[in-house]
Amino acid sequence: MNIFKKEMKANIKSLIIWCCAQVFIIFAGMMKYQGFADSQVDVNALFDAFPKEIMVVFGMGSVDITKVAGFYSVFFLYFMLLAAVHAVMFGAVVISKEERDHCADFIYTKPVRRVQVIWPKLLAGVVNILIFNMVTFAASVFFIAQHNDGNGLIDKVSLTMLALFILQLFFLALGTLFGSILKNTKRATAAASGLVMGFFILSVVVDLYDQLAFLKVLTPFKYFEGAHLMINDQLSFNSAAILLIVSLIFFGLTFVAFNRRDLTT
């Protein structure tokens, strides 16, 4: 419990900053929606004139963005990116920070097993991503309601947030695995952010080139689609199951790898 509290306290500031950024993105994004809705221009016709590549990169491949649900579904891509970076960094740092700060000798010579140190750290990670998720949820419902005659689309947003949370878990697990395998925090965070970038680029590439669609399974950013969640109210069970199982495996490997680790001063 003491380790959990310590980690929560250590991360509260950065969590607040992440949440503020997220709220601002949703706020600013929905303001733009108001702009679209107010202008009498046929926005769909306007965007049809854009090259497909550009629309894909911005996550606006195939939805009707004049409807609030369609417009909001485009956000999902940005949520995934932000949440992925937040979760993967949290995981990578939380596991390896004692060695980075040269206080591994302090905590790991206490009468606790390494597992007993890792557990509360993971728990703190899950609580942090959950708070990030809930803030995203609350801000989404609030700002959607403002532009949708008071209807916050709670059901649709809830489903989207569930998908987001599963992705967050996956990236947290990925981060902790890097933190426990790689030599130090620097390498772990570098590898983790590099991989997130790689996943993102791959997700854009498979959208651009239909013949590469089979590569979709390799990037978690393609496991859920904003449009499916927000418009069709569908969350792919298979995607959820695969991501959760892989996350569990990563968490398991984190424990195994960390137990074997030679701690540096």
Binding site: N2, K6, A10, D101, H102, C103, A104, D105, F106, Y108, T109, K110, P111, V112, R113, Q116, R260, D262, L263, T265
Partner: protein, 296 residues
């Protein structure tokens, strides 16, 4: 009863040698010195005892239990002061110590206060504002606050001024008298001689020997440096107990072990500019140990 028993402990970091076949044991209630030059493997041995690293081969027990298997249980009764002390920098001293205490059952929190008073440490300062010596004091207090049965000190005196070193030694002696066993690692022979009953000497990852301090003092080497006015008669000091005799320009160096009066006699009538008698450095003593081993 042996509190620590190390059996053929070996650790390689990849291809780099950490320690090789280290074996020695520490008896209950003694202050045991662990001495060797920097990089000899003292910290590696200690880190393996604390299960911070995994030995390549060999084993070690503390309180009769395997260090790796029963690590968390064993560590309840160990107080450890690392050679380089770093703590969560944004915390206050009091917070770090309370956090440390929260890992143990039945800690007397008044003890933090009284130890801080003895060591003259301000509990309300932030860790990042502390000098190296003051951080070391935090380390000492967090190592002793739970009244451990085994105290492991890795180069504890660096950064402490002589007065603090004195207080620290008194503290360690007092804990020892209350029954704590102490493993004291250092590269400074004189402080080990002051405190310890027995020592293990480690060099290049292997234990050179384990000795009683009394026996060691029998080989009480002195290092002589003689500056001559004129020509040096090298053969003048050719007597039993003199080793490592070297001449450089007008200066004569040698190590001497034995009755000091013999040297004083020989100094009569020598035309000297200066005379220096010192404790030999650990390196010089080690060199001597090695020479002895090489003899048939």
């Amino acid at each position: 009863m042996n509190v620590i028993e190390i059996n053929q402990l070996t650790k390689y970091y990849g291809k780099h040698r950490g320690i090789e076949n280290v074996s020695f044991s520490v008896e209950e209630g003694e202050i045991f010195g662990f001495i060797g030059p920097n990089g000899a493997g003292k910290s590696t041995t200690i880190r393996a005892l604390l299960a911070l690293i995994h030995p390549t081969s060999g084993s070690a027990t503390i309180f009769g239990k395997d260090c790796l298997k029963y690590g968390s249980e064993i560590r309840r009764d160990i107080g450890y002061l690392p050679s380089e002390v770093f703590y969560y920098e944004h915390m206050k001293v009091r917070e770090v110590l309370n956090y440390s205490a929260s890992f143990y059952d039945n800690v007397d929190y008044n003890r933090i206060q009284s130890l801080a008073e003895v060591m003259d440490l301000d509990l309300n300062k932030r860790i990042d504002d502390l000098s190296y010596g003051n951080k070391k004091k935090v380390g000492i207090i967090q190592g002793l606050l739970h009244e451990p049965k085994l105290i492991i000190l890795d180069e504890p005196t660096g950064g402490l001024d002589p007065l603090m070193q004195q207080k620290f030694f008194e503290l360690i002696r007092a804990e020892n008298q209350k029954g704590a066993t102490v493993l004291f690692s250092s590269h400074i022979l004189s402080e080990v001689q002051k405190l310890c009953g027995r020592v293990a000497i480690i060099k290049d990852g292997t234990i050179v020997r384990v000795e009683n301090i009394r026996d060691m003092q029998k080989h009480n080497y002195k290092k002589f440096t003689l500056d001559y006015k004129g020509i040096i008669d090298v053969h003048h000091f050719n007597l039993e107990g003199v080793t490592n005799l070297t001449v450089r320009e007008n200066t004569l160096h040698f190590l001497f072990k034995g009755d000091i009066n013999r040297i004083v006699e020989r100094l009569q009538g020598q035309n000297l500019l200066n005379l220096l008698v010192e404790e030999p450095s650990l390196e010089e003593i080690f060199m001597h140990y090695y020479q002895k081993e090489e003899l048939p």
